[in-house]
Symmetry: D2
Subunit: 383 residues, 4 copies
C-alpha cells in the first residue's frame, strides 16, 4: 500500500494525550511494548505550560512540542512516519485530513469523524495518497477475537444466524460533572466536542466493528431506540439496536453509559447453525464454543499445544497461556501490525479507514432510526 518502505526504528508524533487523559498514555505504552516506534514530537494539550511539561517528561526536544496540531503537521511533515490522534471526537476529522494531505500516515482514535461523509472522505484520501490509516478499535486486537473471526471463517459455526452484542458501562453513574476531577470527562456529553451521539459513537462503534470483523457480514439496516437518562440529557447514553446483516443474519445490540455498576462490559455472542461462540472482554483470554453435540469448549489464549488455535491468535500473543494479557497488549497488536505494514509487510491485520467509515455509517443510521421512532434505516443511505 505504502510506496516508501521504512527501515529501522519508526518515529511518530501524537496529538492529544496530555495530563489526565485516558487513552493517549495508553497508546504510548502500547507502542513501547514492542519497541517499534519512538515518540519524537507532540501537541498534547492546548495549555502551553502543561504541553511543555508533558513533552519534557516524555524526553522530547522542546522544539518538537508544538502549540497547535496545525503547527505540528507543518513542522513534522517529512520527519515522522505516522501521527497518532488521541484528541476528543470533534477534532479527529480535521486533524486526520490535514495529516493525510501532508503525506503523513495516521492512526486515529474512533470515531474518526462526526458524520459518514467525512469518514468517507478520509477513506478516499488515504487510498488516493497511498497512506496508511489505522483506527485503534482495541477489541479486534485481542487474540481471542482474532480466533473468533478465524473460527467463523473456517466454517466451524456454520451459517451465521444471530449476533448479540452488549457494551455495558456505568461510567455516567459515577461522574459528577460539576466536580473538577470529573470535568475532564464532561466533553463526552457536550455535542460540540462529542458530536451528535455519545454512547453510539463512543462504544457502540466497537460493537459494530466487532460484528463485521468477526462475522465478515455487513450490517445492512438498523432500527434503534436511544435514550438519555443521566444528568444533562444532552446526548444519548443508552441504546437498544436491532440489525439486519448480510446473508439473512440478524443482530441485537445494547450499549449503555448508565449501566450502573458495570465497568467495561463488552460481550459478544455469535450463533451459527452448527455452533456458537461467546467472548467477554472482562474474561478476554478465553473464547467459548458451544454446540449441541459436544461439550462446551474453552479455547485459551496461546495454549501452544492445543489443536485449533489459529496462527493469527498465536501471533497476537506475547506470553504463554495463564499469564494473562489485557487491554494494552491488544492495542499494541494494532500498532505492531500498523508498524509492520509501514515497513512493507503485507497481510497486516489492523482496522483501517474502511472500518472507520463503516462504523460512522452505523452511528448515522442509528441516529436516523431513533429520530424516526425506530424505522429501519439502511447504512448505505448514510454517506
Amino acid at each position: 500500500m505504502k510506496a516508501q518502505v521504512k527501515k529501522g526504528a519508526l518515529a511518530y508524533a501524537m496529538v492529544g494525550g496530555g495530563k489526565g487523559a485516558f487513552i493517549g498514555p495508553v497508546h504510548r505504552a502500547a507502542i513501547r511494548m514492542d519497541n517499534l516506534a519512538t515518540l519524537v514530537a507532540g501537541c498534547f494539550t492546548r495549555d502551553s505550560k502543561a504541553n511543555a511539561e508533558v513533552g519534557a517528561s516524555l524526553g522530547l526536544a522542546p522544539g518538537r512540542v508544538h502549540p497547535d496540531w496545525r503547527d505540528l503537521i507543518a513542522s513534522e511533515k517529512g520527519r515522522i512516519d505516522f501521527l497518532a490522534i488521541c484528541t476528543p471526537n470533534d477534532s479527529h476529522f480535521p486533524i486526520a485530513k490535514a495529516a493525510l494531505e501532508a503525506g503523513i500516515n495516521v492512526m486515529c482514535e474512533k470515531p474518526v469523524a462526526l458524520a459518514a461523509r467525512e469518514a468517507l472522505e478520509l477513506e478516499r484520501l488515504a487510498r488516493r495518497e497511498r497512506l496508511l490509516f489505522g483506527v485503534p478499535f482495541t477489541y479486534s486486537g485481542y487474540p481471542m477475537v482474532k480466533l473468533a473471526r478465524d473460527l467463523v471463517r473456517r466454517g466451524e459455526l456454520g451459517k451465521i444466524c444471530k449476533v448479540v452484542v452488549e457494551y455495558q458501562q456505568g461510567s455516567f453513574r459515577k461522574i459528577d460533572f460539576a466536580k473538577p476531577l470529573d470535568r475532564r470527562n464532561a466533553w463526552k456529553m457536550d455535542p460540540r466536542r462529542s458530536g451528535p451521539s455519545c454512547v453510539v459513537a463512543d462504544i457502540g462503534v466497537h460493537g459494530a466493528h466487532l460484528i463485521e470483523f468477526i462475522t465478515g457480514l455487513d450490517i445492512l439496516k438498523v432500527a434503534a431506540d436511544l435514550s438519555s437518562f443521566a444528568t444533562g440529557k444532552r446526548l444519548d447514553d443508552d441504546a437498544t439496536i436491532m440489525m439486519r446483516l448480510a446473508k439473512g443474519a440478524k443482530a441485537a445490540m445494547v450499549a449503555s453509559k448508565i449501566a450502573t455498576g458495570e465497568e467495561n462490559g463488552l460481550r459478544v455472542r455469535i450463533y451459527g447453525d452448527k455452533a456458537s461462540l461467546a467472548w467477554n472482554v472482562e474474561e478476554g483470554n478465553y473464547l467459548h464454543i458451544k454446540s449441541p453435540f459436544d461439550p462446551e469448549r474453552i479455547y485459551k489464549r496461546n495454549a501452544p499445544y492445543v489443536e485449533g488455535l489459529s496462527m493469527a491468535s498465536k501471533r497476537a500473543s506475547r506470553l504463554p497461556g495463564g499469564h494473562h494479557e489485557g487491554f494494552i497488549e491488544a492495542l499494541a497488536n494494532h500498532y505492531r501490525a500498523f508498524c509492520m505494514a509501514l515497513r512493507g509487510e503485507s497481510g497486516c491485520d489492523f482496522p483501517d479507514a474502511h472500518a472507520g467509515r463503516r462504523t460512522i455509517q452505523f452511528v448515522d443510521a442509528v441516529l436516523a432510526s431513533s429520530r424516526s421512532d425506530g424505522k429501519w434505516v439502511s447504512l448505505n443511505a448514510c454517506n
Copy 2:
C-alpha cells in the same frame, strides 16, 4: 379470594403429563416436594392404553383415569381442589375455561391462551367465580428472583432505567423433527398446536413476566423483529424486542430457540440509577448487585446470617446456602403458595391470571409489531 377454605391434604387432577412429556412429571414432583396435595385423577394422554398405564403407575384408581379432559372435568367436579393443566398450548384456554366454569381452581401452564382476549376472559372468569388461577412461571419462584423484586421494592436500585433480558435456547438446533424420538417436540413448531408464535409464546413470556414481576413496572409498548431460522420455518424461533416500560424505563429482550449450544440461558439485568442487579438461572442460587461506589455484592440463597436477604427469599428456600436448589424447588414454591392460598392464607405469592393475561398481551403486541416491520405497538391495544 376463595370462599371455601380447604382443610387437610388437598386433592388434585392433572391433564397432560403422559409418557415422554417434559413438564407434567415435573409438576407432580414439585407438588410432592412439600406433600401438600395428592394426585387423585388425571387424563394424561389421548392414547387410552398409555393413559391407563400412567394412571396406574401413579397409583390412581382406574375410574379416575379419564379418556378426555371434558370427562375429567365432568366427573371430578367437586371431588378435586384444583386442576393442573400441562397440555400443549392450544388446549390451555378451553380446558382452563371449562374448569373454571365447573368451579374448579386451576394451575395452568403458560401461555394460558392463544390470544389476549381469551386470557382476559380467563382472568375475568376466575375473578367472578372467586376461584384461584395460577400460572407456573417457574422463574419467579426462585428465591433469588423474589429477592430481586424485594431489593427493587426497597429502593436499593433507585429509579429503574434499563432492563435487559435474554432467554437463549438452542433446542431447535438439536431436534431432528423427522426422528421419532424428537417428534414429541414437533408440536412447538406447529401453528395449530403452538398458536401464532413459538419462541415468544414459549419462552419470551417468561422474560416479560420477570420484567413486570421484578420491577413492578408495566410493559407499555414493544417494537420487535422476529425471525424463523430453523427447519420448517412455520413459526418464529428468534426474537429481538425493544420495550418501553412505565415511568420512562426501557427494556431490551433477545429470545431464541436457535441459540446453538445454549441450554436454558435466561438472564436478567436491571439497571437503576443507584445500583443494578443481575440474575442468571444457570447460576440461580446467586444474585449480583453492582453499584459505582461499592464492591460488587453476591447475595446467596438462604444465607441465614446475611443482612439484607428478604423474608420472601428465605421462605422460598428449603436447604441451607451452598446446598443448591434448582428448577423443581422453584416450581414447588409456586405450588406451595397456591396450596396455602387454597387453605385460606393471604399474601401468597404465585403468578396469577393477571400475569397470565399480561404475557399474552405481550405476545400479541410483539407479533403485531413484527408484522408491521417493527412499528411500536401498545400492549393495551391487545385485548
Copy 3:
C-alpha cells in the same frame, strides 16, 4: 443381595429428623421425589410432645410414632422395608446395629460409627444377614460425579497421579453456640455426641468417599495436621491431610468448619497423565475436563445429544440440561438406587456399608496421624 424382593410401594420408618433438624426433612423430601417409599413410622425426637406433633404433621398413625428407637425397632420389625437413621453421630452405630439384628434394611447417615471396628461390625452384620445397608454420601449421587467416575474408568484421564479435594465450610464462624437458635448445632462440637472428630467425621468423610468413588483407588496412608480454632476448642474444626493412594497416586485434602464465609465448598480435582477433571458442588451441574492438547471441555448434566455423557449420569438426571438439579435430587438418587435394589434390581449404585467403613478407617487414621505429629498412618491399621 436381598433374598426377599419387595413388590409395590415400599414402607419406611425414620429415626431423627424432628423440628429444626437439617438432614431428616431433606431425606423425606428426597424419598418423595420419586414416590418409591412411604413413611409409615418414626421416632423423630426425644421430646414426646414434639415427637407426636412431627408424626401427626407427616400423617402418621399415632401408634407408629415411637418414644424411643428401641421401641420403634421392636414394633416395626417386619412392618417396614427400611429404616432411615438421621440422628446425631453417637447413636448411628447402636441404632443401625439393632435394626440389622432385627432384619431391617438400613439407610444410615455418616459417620456410620465412631470407630472403625464398629463400622466393620456393621458391614459384616449386613453381609451376614443379607440386608441392604446404605450410607447417603449425597455427593456421589450427583450425576456429574457419576460421570467423573465413568470418565476415569473409561481411561480418559489416563493413569491417576494426583487428587486434590477441599471441603471448606464457614459454619462455625456464624454460630453463636450460646444462642438458642444456634444451640441445635452445638452437638457437633460435643465429643459425647459427635465422637472423637468434628470436621473429619462430618465432612472429611465426604472427601474420602469421593476420592475412592471417583478414582477407584484405595486411600492407603495419611499424614494429617488437625486444628481447633473456633470457640470451645473441644474438637478439630480444620484439617490438612496428605494421602498416598493405591498405584502410586497421591492426594491432598483440606477440610474446614472455620473457612469463614464459605458455604459448602466441596471441590474435587483429579489429575491423570492424559487429562484432569474438576468438579465443584456449588456449580454441580457441570464437569470440567482439561488436557494439554484440547480446549477445556465442560460437560453439562443431561445434555442428551452430547457424545461422551455416561448412561449412569443420564439415569441420575430428572430434568433436561439447564434446568438445574441440586442437593435433594442427588440424595434422591441414592434412595432411588436403594429402593430399586430392595425390589431386586442388580447393579444399583449407592454407597454401602463398605463405603461407610472405609471412611471411618480414614477418620481413625487421620486422628492417629495428627496425634503423632503428622506421622504417616495406614488405614489398614485402623480396624
Copy 4:
C-alpha cells in the same frame, strides 16, 4: 537505602533473555512500560552469534554485548544502574554475588540461590554494600494482591487462621523433552541447572512468598510430601505441603508441574476469624471477600469510586477498571518500585533480598521434610 540517588533515565544490563527464553523478554517489556530505564548492555546467551543478534535487535552497541557475565560485570561496573538476572537457576547466585561485589544493584530472578546459606549471603552482602536487591516475584506486583495485604493489615479479616495456596501447572504434561522445540525447558528437570528441587523452587516459592507477603506471618515449620511423576523423574514435580505459621495460623499448599491441563493456576485463600479472601491469578483483576454476615464482595482493580480499595492497589494500576491488566503490568510494578527506590524514594514496594532468602529457606525445609518422610522441619534450621 542506596547512598547515591540516581537522576534522569536509568541504564540497565541484562544477563539471560536470549532467543526462545521466556522471562527475559518479559522483563524488558515490563521495564519499557513505564520508560524508567534503558537497556544499555547485555549477555543474552552463550552462543556468541545469537548473543550478537539479540543485542543488535535490541539496539545495543556491539561493544556492550558481552560474551560472558563476568565480562559484563567487569566492563559495565559503574556504567549501569542495575543488572537484571534472567538465567537458569544455577547461575543466579554467582552472578548476583559478583554484581553486588562490583557495586551494582541487582534484580535477580527466583530462586535467588540453590541453598539458603547462599541466599543469606546475598542478603547480607546487599545490606553491607547498601545496594538494592530485588526479586521479581511477579504475583505480589498485582494490584489486587497488594489490596489483599492491605485488607489483612487493616484487620478486615480479623485474626488469620488458615491459608490455602495452590499453584497448579500442567506444563510437564505437554513437554516432550526429546523434541528440539521443547528442549529449552529441559534444564528445569536437570539438577545441575535447576538445583535440588524443581516444582518447589520454581513455583512453590511464589506461594511461600505470597503467604508471607499477604499475611505478614512467617512460615515457621513445614511437613511435605514430594513426588516425581513425569518422564525422567530426576526432580520433584508435585508437592503437598503442610505449614505452621506465626501466631498459631496454619497453611496448606499444593504445587505441581503435572497438574494436567492447568495453565498457571495460582490461587490463594486466606481465612481470618472475621472474613476470608480469595485471589486467583487467572481472574487477577478481582479480589473476593467473604464473611458470614455480609454478601460476598468482589473488589475490582482500580474502581476509582469504590470505598475500601487501598492506595497501594490503585497506584499499582495503569488502566481504569474493566480494562484488564495482566502479568506484564504486575512485573512492571516491581520494576517501577525498584527504579523509584533507585531514585531515592522511600517506601517503595518490591520483594527484596529478605523475601528471596525466606523462600530459599522454605525450599530447603520442604526438601528436608520430604526426605525424612514428612517430619516437621523448621525454616530457621535452614540457613
